[in-house]
């Protein structure tokens, strides 16, 4: 029995397990036809790599420190010419701080000025894309981030006595779940995230990539949310901020 195409390619690319690789190599050693197919695949691969090199340009000169500085971090070893920028940032922060103090002083006229200004410009702040994460007295938050495959199931093991799941669709690549520290434990596999939330009253924040093809959320075995391509069906409701609010309490009789 000859190797199928998938196995030939996996042998070429070192994508077979040790045992499967050994068995495939043994077969190829004794099979003229499969040896010819493997050699042809190797030749094609070499040709393609040679051709693709014609497209290459030298990579930019860059460093992790440069990226870290760009990310807004206070990188170790910030270069001297960055200090002017830092001074400007510090001046702005100082000005904001002084304004904050002036606003907070009892009887300060600044509060009135701010109210008038807010009314004049319409006074609405931009809604966040996500409902605000509930403040928790235990400051810690735990969570997990995973890349979903074709189908991904988020399974909250139990219905709760209280709490919600706040679901939002994001442009990121990962499914992210956050909860107050200690509220749940997370166990993940390639296509599933199991959240053990027994005895919890916590609210969970769940972010789902907009381009994930299929993500389902179940609570205590019941489906409460399903995203299939762009279509979302849910037992919850849409929040003003554009996300979804799912009840974690048992459904009524």
């Amino acid at each position: 029995m000859h190797l199928d195409e998938e196995r030939v390619q996996r042998l070429l690319h070192g994508e077979l397990s040790l045992e499967a690789g050994r068995s495939a190599r043994e077969h190829v050693a004794g099979c003229v036809d499969c040896r010819r197919r493997l050699m042809e695949a190797e030749r094609e691969e070499a040709d393609v790599h040679t051709l693709l090199r014609a497209l290459d340009d030298p990579p930019p000169r860059t460093s992790p420190e440069g990226v870290a500085a760009r990310a807004g971090a206070v990188a170790v070893g910030v270069r001297a010419h960055d200090s002017a920028w830092l001074r400007r940032a510090a001046s702005i922060l100082l000005a904001v701080g002084i304004a904050g103090v002036a606003y907070a002083v009892p009887g300060s006229p600044v509060r009135g000025w701010v109210r008038v200004l807010v009314r004049k410009v319409g006074g609405r702040s931009e809604p966040s894309t996500m409902p605000p994460y509930p403040k928790d007295s235990h400051a810690g938050v735990s969570g997990i981030a995973l890349l979903p495959g074709q189908k991904f199931l988020i399974l909250l093991k139990s219905a709760q006595g209280g709490g919600q799941a706040l679901v939002s669709l994001t442009d990121g690549p990962e499914v992210q779940v956050r909860a107050p520290a200690g509220a749940a434990t997370f166990t993940s596999s390639a296509d599933q995230l199991l959240i053990d939330n027994r005895d919890s009253l916590a609210t969970f924040e769940i972010r789902i990539p907009r381009d994930a093809p299929w993500v389902e959320i179940q609570v205590g075995g019941a489906r409460v949310f399903l995203k299939e391509g762009p279509r979302v069906t849910t037992t919850g409701f849409t929040s003003a901020a554009g996300g979804y609010v799912l009840r974690l309490t048992p459904s009524g009789p």
């Binding site: 998938e6 693709l52 030298p58 995973l146 495959g149």
Partner: protein, 174 residues
């Protein structure tokens, strides 16, 4: 304890950057034919990783997925991101000995032929071929392109064959 933890992330980040930046850049550059856009997007992917503050379970898969999303957004918006770092193509090449006129013309001709052949492949095959050429695993390719991992080998073989056939039909054997 906190400074120790964050130093450790910075070390891990620096290692990952040194090992993988060029690979992501090269993939994006081959895909787009635009070295400046490729540099912007590759750097932005690492900026996002740095801001994340911890490494994901599979950093390479994470980085390439983020880079591909950023690339798609950058293309669809026809917008250019702020250049994070400054190297222009010409500037980078100053460090190399300049090629002779014949050599340069031949390289440009070769680039044009390969670009034409690559552009005639369907998008998924093109991306798949380029990801594999950078050594991404079947698992990473399947994750990045939302494919069934079990059939990545067959799809790669088809893409490779299609690319070589298109090239040969147009320009002769490579």
């Amino acid at each position: 304890m906190e400074p120790e933890k964050s130093r450790s992330f910075q070390d891990q980040f620096a290692e990952l950057f040194d090992a993988r930046f060029e690979r992501i850049y090269r993939y994006l550059n081959r895909l787009s034919g635009d070295p400046e856009l490729a540099a912007d997007v590759a750097q932005e992917a690492f900026v996002k990783l740095y801001r994340r503050g911890s490494l994901p379970d599979s950093p390479e898969a994470w980085l390439i997925s983020v880079a591909m999303n950023l690339f798609r957004n950058a293309k669809s918006a026809h917008s250019r991101r702020l250049r994070l770092l400054t190297p222009a193509r010409g500037e980078s090449m100053l460090s190399d000995p300049p090629p002779g006129p014949d050599e340069a013309m031949e390289a440009e001709d070769s680039r044009r032929r390969v670009r034409l052949a690559l552009d005639r492949l369907p998008d998924r095959e093109r991306r798949m071929l380029l990801l594999r050429a950078e050594g991404y695993s079947y698992r990473d390719i399947a994750g990045a392109l939302r494919l069934n991992e079990a059939s990545v080998g067959v799809l790669l073989a088809r893409a490779r064959r299609a690319f070589r056939n298109i090239y040969e039909e147009s320009f002769g054997a490579p």
